[in-house]
């Protein structure tokens, strides 16, 4: 339309000076003008595709032919970095990760739904101001919405300290820090369920201080100290305001070569047990991870071996229970899209056979007197990644529960992520 208007203007102006010329010349000049208008329009399009400010030091942009079919033929050449939609540019990075879980087989009294939209996690992350960033992870489960994490991070305080304030997964071991979608399994190890608060784990409101500790060359040492309100699912409970829980973690990491590295950690946590106000639960943990990824074929082959060992000490006056558990896991990537893994689990569990009128297990301090039950499990896992943003997983799991019941189950999982491409935790 614009082009048509310009041609009309040109056509109106032209007769004045074209009176003495023959019609062929007029037509030829009109054609030339039309071509010029088209060229100018194309240049305007090129300019529109560029950010408003161009570095003074940089030379003028040169239009370049498009290489990709999905990019327009014009304005493929932009000088001066990236532009962006102005109205959205300060919005946080948003991502939603879906976790669909299915289960089949004999669950031996520990049932999970046959099919469930287990979790939909919404992540909102952005730099807050020149001093801090903020991260929110909302978890939409089948039974409601919880704030899985929501915290403010001051990444670079004086003295190399990093402060985090808000609700967060505690730095106890490895699995406790990980969201469901980055786990190499469809479930969490038995020891997590029995001793460290289950799927949610130690996840509470509090403060976290982290610092890289000076160490001999090549060794990475990092210490983390955390204080929480003291409420973490069925693990810790804050009966009074001063019933705070604490977590400490020391991490040591070293590259063994450019492809292999070793990551070790020790953790400690203390809080008032959810069993009773006068029961103190102390957790001691050790974790070890070995990773192998050949850099030249990093997208095709890798291996991660991991183990966590956890001791719990529950004390109440003269009564003490010391359940213990661990898992050993390995995952090997044998093709660009395929991963195969296995896990062995063993964990003690506080046992109780006392039930209330509704048939629910009684959970009180008397449980400390009962003999510990031991659960043992093993899993084989096969994971397929259609792309970086989705994965399909099958897991065969056999669990022998302490009550002499054995479960044989097949778990299957679809995970999918839309939105911003966040970094995976290491």
């Amino acid at each position: 339309m614009k082009r048509f208007t310009l041609v009309l203007i040109a056509a109106a102006v032209f007769p004045l000076c074209a009176a003495a010329q023959d019609s062929a010349e007029v037509l030829s000049r009109m054609k030339a003008l039309e071509d010029r208008i088209q060229a100018l329009e194309q240049e305007i399009q090129v300019l529109k595709g560029q950010p408003p400010a161009v570095s003074a030091a940089a030379p003028a942009p040169q239009p370049a032919p498009a290489e990709a079919p999905q990019v327009a033929a014009q304005s493929t050449s932009v000088l001066g970095g990236a532009g962006g939609a102005a109205s959205k540019v300060l919005n946080p990075d948003v991502a939603v990760i879906g976790d669909f879980l299915g289960a089949a087989g004999n669950s031996a009294g520990h049932p999970t739904p046959a099919l469930e939209m287990h979790e939909s996690e919404a992540a909102f992350q952005a730099i807050l101001d020149p001093y801090a960033r903020a991260d929110f992870f909302l978890s939409f489960g089948e039974e409601g919405v919880t704030l899985e994490e929501g915290y403010l991070t001051f990444p670079a305080l004086k003295g190399g300290f990093q402060l985090r304030v808000g609700k967060m997964r505690a730095a106890f071991g490895k699995v406790n820090t990980l969201h469901n979608h980055v786990l190499p399994w469809a479930d969490r190890p038995l020891v997590t369920g029995n001793l460290v608060g289950g799927e949610d784990g130690i996840d509470d409101a509090g403060l976290s201080l982290t610092r890289i500790i000076p160490a001999p060359k090549g060794l990475f040492l990092e210490g983390t100290a955390q204080v929480f309100r003291g409420d973490s699912g069925d693990l810790f409970h804050s009966y009074k305001r001063d019933n705070l829980s604490t977590v400490g973690h020391l991490r040591a990491y070293r590259d063994i070569g450019e492809s292999t590295n070793l990551d070790l950690g020790v953790s400690y946590s203390r809080g008032h047990s959810a069993i009773a106000a006068d029961v103190i639960d102390q957790l001691y943990g050790m974790d070890a991870t070995v990773r192998w990824k050949p850099l030249r074929r990093a997208i095709y082959h890798s291996f991660v071996g991991r183990s966590e060992v956890i001791w719990s000490r529950l004390e109440q006056a003269s009564r003490t229970a010391t359940p213990f558990g661990y898992y050993v896991s390995g995952e090997y990537q044998f093709a660009r899209r395929w991963f195969a893994g296995a896990r062995f689990d063993r964990s003690d569990r506080l046992g109780s056979t006392a039930v209330d009128a509704s048939g629910n297990l009684l959970v009180n301090s008397a449980i400390l007197n009962a003999a510990l039950l031991q659960d043992t499990g093993g899993s084989f896992v096969l994971t397929y990644w259609p792309s970086e943003f989705s994965q399909i997983r099958g897991q065969l799991r056999r669990t022998s529960y302490g009550e002499n019941r054995t479960a044989n189950e097949f778990l299957f999982q679809f995970q999918f992520s839309i939105g911003a491409h966040g970094a995976h935790p290491f």
């Binding site: 290489e67 999905q70 327009a72 932009v78 990236a82 990444p155 090549g218 990475f220 792309s387």
Partner: protein, 305 residues
């Protein structure tokens, strides 16, 4: 009292001078940027890098050992355009180093100085594959962008070490001169092959191919970041046969099975070009990167005449 204070003052002054004259610690996301930093910074900087030249820069593990480098950095150079989005942001946050945090003087995104190709002008979706919504980040493979980055680095180094501003400017001028001479040589070597059609594995080469007059007709990947599929491989084979394309350019970190089968079906040659400094032992600087790739290309073109 004054007599006692004098040695202390002298000592403090000496420490101050030593600190001021200390090398500028530069950590670059890739070896290419570290190489350019060394060209401009000379012996007044200590340059280190994170991603190796032979690894896929999209998929780098954010190892804690990198934090040890970043912790002491005065300046972090990054490619930008979301190339490092999967690994660099958490490293920056965890480094505990205020200088290199986003928005501070020690955080420099080099893409802002360069000519960027393949900037999408339509709605970007992941149906397009792992497309970079801000444009193709492999821009360092055009020497003209190398020149622009060198200028920007001289400015930045001068800003952070004002006393050495003239030194950096002189090094940058010298780099430009040598680059201009090298470009004449590269242009002459590539001139006979201007307009040649090629296939590349990933979209790593738009700047390189535009600069040296190669025409990328298709890719081994059906879409960016999506592994080859049989149907697309067949399309590529048909295209190569139809257009008589004889060269498949592959980055060193991709599996060679599909490129080799394409080459076998079409009688073409697979050439493993290095997209980065450090990709091969002999590629120790920015000049040698182009020397290496152009030498390989010329040899391959001559072979498949």
């Amino acid at each position: 009292m004054m007599v006692h204070m004098k040695p202390l003052a002298l000592l403090l002054a000496a420490v101050g001078v030593c600190h001021a004259a200390g090398k500028l610690n530069v950590v670059a996301a890739t070896q290419d940027l570290a190489a350019l930093a060394e060209e401009v910074g000379g012996d007044r900087i200590a340059a280190d890098s994170i991603a190796k030249g032979y690894q896929d820069p999209h998929f780098v593990e954010p190892k804690p050992s990198f934090l040890l480098k970043l912790q002491k950095a005065d300046l972090l150079l990054m490619v930008g355009l979301q190339l490092e989005i999967g690994w660099l942001p958490p490293l920056i946050t965890q480094s505990g180093n205020s200088k290199i945090q986003v928005g501070n003087a020690g955080n420099l995104d080099m893409s802002q100085f360069c000519q960027i190709l393949e900037v999408p002008t339509t709605q970007v979706t992941r149906a397009m594959g792992d497309v970079h919504p801000l444009g193709n980040p492999h821009y360092w493979l055009d020497p003209e962008n190398g020149r622009r980055m060198a200028k920007a680095l001289a400015d930045k180094f001068g800003e952070l070490r004002p006393a050495d501003r003239a030194y950096f400017a002189q090094r940058e001028a010298d780099f430009e001169k040598r680059l201009t001479e090298a470009e004449k040589r590269w242009d002459a070597e590539m001139a006979p092959f201007k307009g040649r059609k090629v296939i590349t594995y990933h979209r790593s080469w738009p700047n390189f191919c535009e600069r040296f007059g190669l025409d990328v007709v298709d890719y081994v990947e059906p879409k960016p970041g999506i592994p080859p599929t049989p149907s697309h491989t067949l399309e590529v084979i048909n295209t190569m046969k139809r257009d008589n394309i004889k060269l498949v350019m592959v980055e060193p970190y991709f599996d060679l099975r599909t490129p080799n089968s394409i080459a076998q079906a079409t009688g073409s040659t697979v050439v493993i070009l290095m997209p980065s400094v450090g990709g091969d032992k002999q590629i120790t600087d920015y000049f040698k990167l182009f020397d290496y790739d152009i030498n390989l290309l010329v040899g391959s073109f001559n072979k498949v005449k």
